[in-house]
């Protein structure tokens, strides 16, 4: 027994004296950041409000599309374009929390698939059948959504008058924009309802109560894992797909400007910035946030890593901002700024996928298979 007591005392002493690396085990006067609270706050103050905004803005787009379909002219085209851009902001932010109902409802294939097939869209419009939301629901993912609307609502030279003229000449185009917008709004409403406001019994509550009762998450850590994986995947997509591919990194330096998502509307860089903002919101909360966040938890465990992530986020945002508009022109001219933005987002991806994931014990994109 004496040996056991000595061993216990030695271990407790070691525990009390530990410092530096492995600071997670270091006793501290600061109360531990509550992981359940992180999930509750992320769901209630970031994710649900984001989907509510998306739903609201897609409703606005549907309204603008109705006016456009009824009377296509420069004013209604411009109004619909502005409404479309307004939708892109919450949707691009939502890329940072693309899990739960977003997956089960296949929101991406309903609202924003990329790339779309312009041939199929033209064929859909040319079809003699009346265009309806019902028919849009039956279409493939690459024949509908926000990018299909972009194809019909914008012209590469930004000429709203030319777009209006095309809509006047071919009313089916306006009807398609309206049906696309109404279908996307329907799906966004379903998405918002599936998450549900706090106390509504939806996924927001399920995430906030991870590890308890009826939550879809068996453990709190499973919820943390989904949230961290969400921002990791968002950063990875930004680096590899949104920037790396158009720049031509996968083709040995041959730029692929057609791979720029949002190239026709010249909204690509705004989308990328919105996704970075979404990552920041999920990771750090908004500027007024005083509650538990992933960042505060990481800071408590390892301040250097926490500082590194924020520095990477800042650098990525600045690098994207430094790319001259439009992105497809920038990549076509082998812009160093675009390449810098790729490396900056890649650094962010690495920080989240390695430092943060390891520090929080999060398994990246792993199955529920047995361990050890």
């Amino acid at each position: 027994m004496r040996a056991v007591a000595c061993l216990t005392a030695a271990v407790l002493t070691l525990s009390a004296c530990s410092s530096g690396e492995g600071a997670s085990a270091t006793p501290t006067a600061t109360p531990a950041v509550d992981r359940t609270e992180i999930l509750a706050l992320a769901a209630a103050t970031v994710i649900y409000p984001n989907y509510a905004t998306l739903n609201h803005r897609l409703d606005d787009l549907a309204t603008a599309a109705t006016a456009l379909a009824n009377a296509p002219d420069e004013a209604t085209v411009t109004a619909a374009q502005e409404a479309w851009r307004a939708c892109r902001e919450p949707w691009s932010e939502a890329a940072a929390h693309d899990f739960g109902p977003s997956e089960s409802l296949r929101a991406r294939s309903a609202i924003d698939w990329w790339p779309v097939s312009t041939e199929k869209i033209d064929a859909f419009i040319a079809d003699e059948q009346a265009i309806s939301v019902q028919r849009v629901a039956e279409l493939g993912a690459d024949v509908r959504g926000l990018m299909a609307i972009e194809y019909l609502l914008f012209s590469a030279d930004g000429d709203a008058v030319a777009v209006a003229a095309a809509l006047q000449a071919e009313p089916q185009r306006g009807a398609a924009i309206l049906a696309y917008a109404q279908y996307a709004a329907e799906r966004a409403e379903a998405l918002q309802e599936a998450w549900g406001d706090v106390g509504a019994g939806g996924y927001t509550d399920g995430l906030a109560q991870a590890g308890q009762g009826q939550s879809p998450y068996e453990m709190t850590q499973d919820g943390i894992s989904d949230v961290v994986n969400g921002i990791v995947h968002a950063a990875e997509t930004l680096a590899d797909v949104k920037l790396g591919r158009p720049i031509g990194l996968s083709t040995g330096g041959v730029p692929l400007p057609d791979e720029v998502q949002g190239g026709i509307s010249n909204n690509a860089l705004a989308d990328i910035s919105s996704t970075l903002h979404g990552i920041r919101l999920v990771y750090q909360g908004d500027a007024s946030s005083t509650g538990a966040t992933l960042h505060r938890l990481v800071r408590q465990l390892d301040p250097a890593i926490a500082d590194g992530v924020i520095a990477d986020l800042d650098a990525a945002e600045a690098a994207v901002e430094a790319i001259p508009e439009p992105l497809d022109d920038a990549v076509s001219h082998s812009s160093q700024a675009a390449l810098d933005a790729f490396y900056a987002t890649k650094d962010l991806h690495r920080s989240l996928a390695t430092d943060v994931a390891s520090l929080l014990g999060v398994t990246l994109t792993f199955s529920d298979n047995d361990g050890d």
Binding site: L12, T220, T251, S351
Partner: protein, 452 residues
């Protein structure tokens, strides 16, 4: 009589086969349950049918998943074989086929490696050479052979195998991360504050330290206490409690329950009969070679020389294999050279991120994200293991062969046990042409290299 002869006689002595019969039944049931879980959870599709690329083991590149419904049929066969083993129907044949069928599945992809799968393969292998169909088995009821015994080497070989798992798991914990940084438990335990009752205790700063040291001591010494008659019962209860706790804290599948069940083999060979006697209130007799009670003076057969040699070779391999990492100059937890098949359980919290670059002879450089070749599960495994990174690099080189003689390099970063990420592999080394095999991979950077 030589020492070898004495060993052959000792190891050939018959003992009650009841404990190994119980072991066989539990093994068969877990084998069937494990295969059923694969079907139920969709892992057959996820792990064997969806991936287009597999990390085969060196020398086993011929192993490919069955096409179409073949893999489903294979897992149904594993269930049937497991149930046959449990029931003792054509026991030796079923066990042998199970060994082949299960090991084939494990050989398909290194990214699926788990220590307890390896343990199941080893146990199935050795069980194939044991007379396990005599007791509590359909084979025994059908047979005219009255023996209810097994040679004692059978019992000791299973005990040895399980003791090796614990001991080397404990030896693996004697490292600075585990003992002096309490990692990775310092990462894992605070995340389990939601566990009923003990959750708040897990978030205490001392919890990972106590559990690290206690865990290492448990693994190192539990075999001794299980082997000692006076401490056996309490040791088994302790082991059961340990496994129940770890099974609830971490997602480690059937492993804890398997070990609780299998360690019953450390009890006396007649423990099932003793238990039944107590439960049923009447003694259960054992028929031996002559049909009398156990302890009969009837001499048992001696073990053959070949058998003894095979047993010694097997034991030597089981001791040498987990220690082979000593031959590598790299840090084991970082490089994972000598990590597999060495019972290093629960030792690392790793996260990695890898990008590949293809370099053509004309100076072009192409980014190749590994996601396009791998399933999420494979991606997670590959991202932290140099051997798998090199295997994928070789595959990518083959895929880009149409561009001529290409080089493939990797930007590989790994965070180990709470450390900030570090580069794992030299960034300019052509991994596609780097030496493969069991030798040290010199291009693995040391853990203490602070380069980001």
């Amino acid at each position: 009589m030589t020492a070898i002869d004495r060993w052959r006689e000792t190891l050939g002595q018959p003992v009650d086969g009841a404990s190994l019969a119980a072991f066989r039944i539990l093994f068969g049931l877990f084998a069937a349950l494990g295969a059923a879980r694969f079907l139920w959870n969709g892992w057959v599709e996820q792990l064997y049918l969806s991936p287009s690329f597999f990390f085969t083991y060196p020398g086993f590149s011929w192993a490919h998943p069955w096409p179409g419904w073949g893999m489903y049929a294979h897992f149904v066969a594993l269930i049937v074989l497991g149930l046959m083993i449990a029931a003792g129907i054509y026991t030796r044949l079923a066990t042998g086929l199970y060994f082949v069928a299960f090991t084939y599945v494990e050989l398909l992809d290194q990214s699926n490696y788990l220590n307890h799968y390896y343990l199941i393969s080893l146990l199935a292998l050795v069980m194939t050479f044991m007379p396990l169909g005599r007791v509590f088995a359909v084979d025994g009821w059908r047979s005219s052979d009255p023996r209810q015994t097994v040679p004692i080497w059978c019992v000791w070989l299973i005990r040895f195998q399980l003791a090796a798992v614990y001991f080397f798991a404990g030896l693996g914990k004697v490292n600075a991360d585990w003992l002096l940084r309490a990692q990775p438990l310092a990462t894992w335990l605070p995340a389990r504050g939601d566990v009923p009752v003990i959750g708040p205790l897990l978030t205490l700063p001392a919890a990972p330290w106590l559990m690290s040291w206690a865990g290492a001591a448990f693994d190192l010494f539990i075999p001794l206490f299980l082997l000692h008659r006076r401490t056996r019962f309490w040791a088994w209860l302790t082991a059961a409690a340990f496994h129940v706790i770890t099974g609830n804290l971490f997602k480690i599948g059937l492993f804890p329950w398997i070990m609780i069940a299998f360690t019953l083999v450390f009890f006396e060979p007649d423990w099932p009969r003793t238990l039944m006697s107590r439960l049923m209130g009447r003694p259960q007799s054992v028929r031996t070679l002559g049909g009398g009670a156990e302890g009969s003076t009837c001499p048992g057969p001696v073990m053959s020389r070949v058998g003894l040699a095979a047993l010694c070779l097997y034991a030597a391999l089981q001791i040498a294999t987990p220690l082979r990492h000593i031959a590598y100059p790299s840090q084991l937890l970082w490089s994972e050279e000598g990590f597999m098949f060495s019972w290093r359980v629960m030792l690392v919290e790793k996260a990695g991120q890898v990008d590949f670059w293809v370099h053509t002879e004309d100076g072009r450089r192409m980014l190749v994200p590994p996601r396009q070749y791998l399933s999420p599960h494979q991606l997670g495994a590959m991202s932290t293991q140099p051997e798998l990174i090199q295997a994928l690099a070789a595959h990518i080189a083959a895929e880009y062969q149409h561009l001529g003689d290409v080089r493939v390099t990797a930007d590989a970063f790994v965070s180990l046990n709470g450390r900030p990420r570090r580069r794992l592999i030299e960034e300019d080394v052509d991994l596609a042409s780097a030496p493969t095999g069991l030798g040290h991979r010199a291009r693995i950077l040391p853990l203490d290299d602070r380069q980001k």
